[in-house]
Symmetry: C2
Subunit: 527 residues, 2 copies
Amino acid sequence: MSAVSPITMLISRTVASGSRVLSGSAARTDADVAFLAARTNLVKHRTMASRAVSLDNMNPNFIKLEYAVRGPLVIRAAEIEKELEKGAQKPFKRVIKANIGDAHAMGQVPITFIRQVLACTVLPELLKTSDFPADVKQRACDLMSGLGGGSVGAYSASHGVDMIRQHVAEYIARRDGHPSRWQDVCLSAGASTAIKNCLQLLCNPVDGKPSGVMIPIPQYPLYSASLAEYGLRQVHYYLDEPRGWGLDVGELERSLTDAAKDTAVRAIVVINPGNPTGQVLTRENIEAVIKFAHAHRLFIFADEVYQHNIYAEGSQFHSFKKVLVEMGAPYVNEVELASFMSVSKGYMGECGLRAGWMELVNMQPEVQAHLYKAISAMLCPAVTGQIAIDCVAKPPAPGEPSYDLWLSETTAVLASLKKRARMIVDTFNNMPGFQCNDVQGAMYAFPSIELPPKAIEVAKSKGLAPDVYYAFRLLEETGICIVPGTGFGQRPGTFHFRTTILPQPQLLQEMLDIFKGFHTKFTKEHS
Amino acid sequence: MSAVSPITMLISRTVASGSRVLSGSAARTDADVAFLAARTNLVKHRTMASRAVSLDNMNPNFIKLEYAVRGPLVIRAAEIEKELEKGAQKPFKRVIKANIGDAHAMGQVPITFIRQVLACTVLPELLKTSDFPADVKQRACDLMSGLGGGSVGAYSASHGVDMIRQHVAEYIARRDGHPSRWQDVCLSAGASTAIKNCLQLLCNPVDGKPSGVMIPIPQYPLYSASLAEYGLRQVHYYLDEPRGWGLDVGELERSLTDAAKDTAVRAIVVINPGNPTGQVLTRENIEAVIKFAHAHRLFIFADEVYQHNIYAEGSQFHSFKKVLVEMGAPYVNEVELASFMSVSKGYMGECGLRAGWMELVNMQPEVQAHLYKAISAMLCPAVTGQIAIDCVAKPPAPGEPSYDLWLSETTAVLASLKKRARMIVDTFNNMPGFQCNDVQGAMYAFPSIELPPKAIEVAKSKGLAPDVYYAFRLLEETGICIVPGTGFGQRPGTFHFRTTILPQPQLLQEMLDIFKGFHTKFTKEHS
């Protein structure tokens, strides 16, 4: 399997050849063209020997960085959409974007309460109309009283509006049955921003060794991308696919021991419910991770953005904070933890508003002060997103005018996701060559696929990882856009892909049928 | 003047003394308490010898980083506001926040068109009402047609919605009279994010020398903060205060020559109109900077977020892009440039929406591809902010239903800012000990103040820079929050502060009267 990614290849090939795009596989050439077409007409002007910023002298971490969820496949998918709009003839009529957890883009309807409150704060004259329930108006007024000049157009405090942070702390306290300090809650422009801010705390060598962070394999590529960006080493621990993508402490110990020879291992990332794997950790699992982190003095990144997305019978979400508190001394006071949450997932799916939060637990106060100071230079997360956070942290209560609608909408979204999780797993497991673990939670399935040896050879001859080749073929021939396992990491010699469970039921069924047909054809072609 | 900032001092003193806050000046002690009070009750649990992340092993760049616009003074101002709310007796009834360019917080009213379009996209059922002009409804529909699932809750493309980028390119073309390629326009969560993304391209050593970026002194502290964050060196060039904060190429040459001994100077930042200085560059000035950048192969950061805020007779905004294009070869094809814009400033003042853009000119296509790829890992700027960008890039046209209101609102905002710019300059120049250059543009005045030798001594005895001491006294005694010149940089031995021109006229007059009284008292006390 090539260690070089398609995007690095396409860029370096382009450099080697000036503006001319070298021929390769059909898919690769198309992606090349898509990516660079807009620029080729400028390149002719640009033959000067040296530049202020060039591939030779730019930050090499930006070159290493990869983010498969928005990588060359997705760029190509957008191109295909445009070609279809212009009337191009394809074997399909629409691109199905199963590459990204973007619920609204796949037809999920926004929660009315969130949007009503947001509309009233954006345009306060709406409060004078009779179009909104009393609790919506009251919430909008309460929120505006905490904003500068009452306007969503004023900066908020850098870590979010105090009142909203307080509501988040109350949400956490209700969720866990243990108190949360609102000063330790920091609102952010999505979980990604908060995760990156915390990773940045670690990007210095310690005792002469470069720092590293333990991440699961497979992982959500924000982690690998951000570690590359900050020059941090990835320390891989493998999730146990045959045991439902379980997290095994023996594997954590192996991973740490191997890495510690030349790396200062500083932190461990746990994604629960899992992305891309869909597993939900047991309480015992979480306790074991906390003990491991305590023994090795690791900072825990608890990525808990899918905490509302639990589908499997018997699965339950346990927050790291709750388990930590209930473990008592010495853990409760000594294990450093950041828990991340988002309004992009759950029943909300409000990705476009870019809003999330983190709760910091046991962070050294001086470190937290410096972290907060660094965050303050970015002014504040979008106030519109903060308003959505408020609606999530403090939803309508029973008896309030918006409660019944809110309950029916949120229940319907989660029930439908649960149904789709079941449907996708059952379908893949009924397809020869596929093996798919249960989707206990989150929004994705990550099945393994058997690829015929001939397909692996063809892929290698094209300089592509076999799963990338498979995914490009799938896209070009069916319009289905998934993300190959290479983007998340997988055990060498195994092949996977991630698909979201987000297409609405009818479209999902259609997608699975098309997928089945493609796989049969692909296998036959390469047998 | 102490090189150690108040915040670093308060943190390091706290570390040295455990949770006990050492006594110091009244203001400093209060700030200490404000900043750490919430945490002291936790510190007692936290006496373990070592931690995963501690002051000793955390990223030292986060410790160095300073952002005065939201620094200890501003933290203290927020505390005072809370004390007043709780009924504390003070010599004043309200804090006047003249520290930050936050127009809505100071009473500026949002532009109706922006908010109406935003409300309709947030809650599309509003389109069914008769409460909105036809062009607002049409715009909302057009925008929604470019969003995933028609929802502001779907992720957009990472660099923004194509249609909005196209409208920005059209705006730039109208502004400059020269074409702009929409693919080179990248939308962002405020100008700050885009600036940081571009700075990150540079944070690697070149030829064994650490990289550095030329920044004006005084500068907007986002630059010093970001350079510290990325381990980039600040290369200072001084603006010429006696010549209206002019930009002198001789000084650029001096600065570069001095720095080049041990620094790879990669880029130059120009803020036009100036923040905090309020100067507007002439076309000749801009040509000279472009020639300088070309000669020394520097990337130009053109911070043009105040391009709508021009007040002085005879001043005119010239974009770097326009001047570059009109200079012709070799500059037009060889000088690399990023221009930054924001919806937080101008007549809009929509800071809380976090939206801006950059236009990249002559960036090496491969570098641009890597930059775009790195940005894609952050998913997208808030879609709500992008909608505001669209309204700014494509405002109502003459004859459209919203045009007259839009015109009267925007004209009124800019006329009032012009009046306040005049008022503040005249008042300061009538106060003994103050010297204030004309505010030709932007939203700030940056007067110099004479401080009596005794005040300088007292400040030193408290470990504070004299202007910081002055600003803390002003805050504690009058409730006026300004930012001392130390936060922006100033020639050694001179003292300044930045105040916004944003308080509404009556409040501004009141503020200036109080200021005058304070200064007289302060001077007398220290004579």
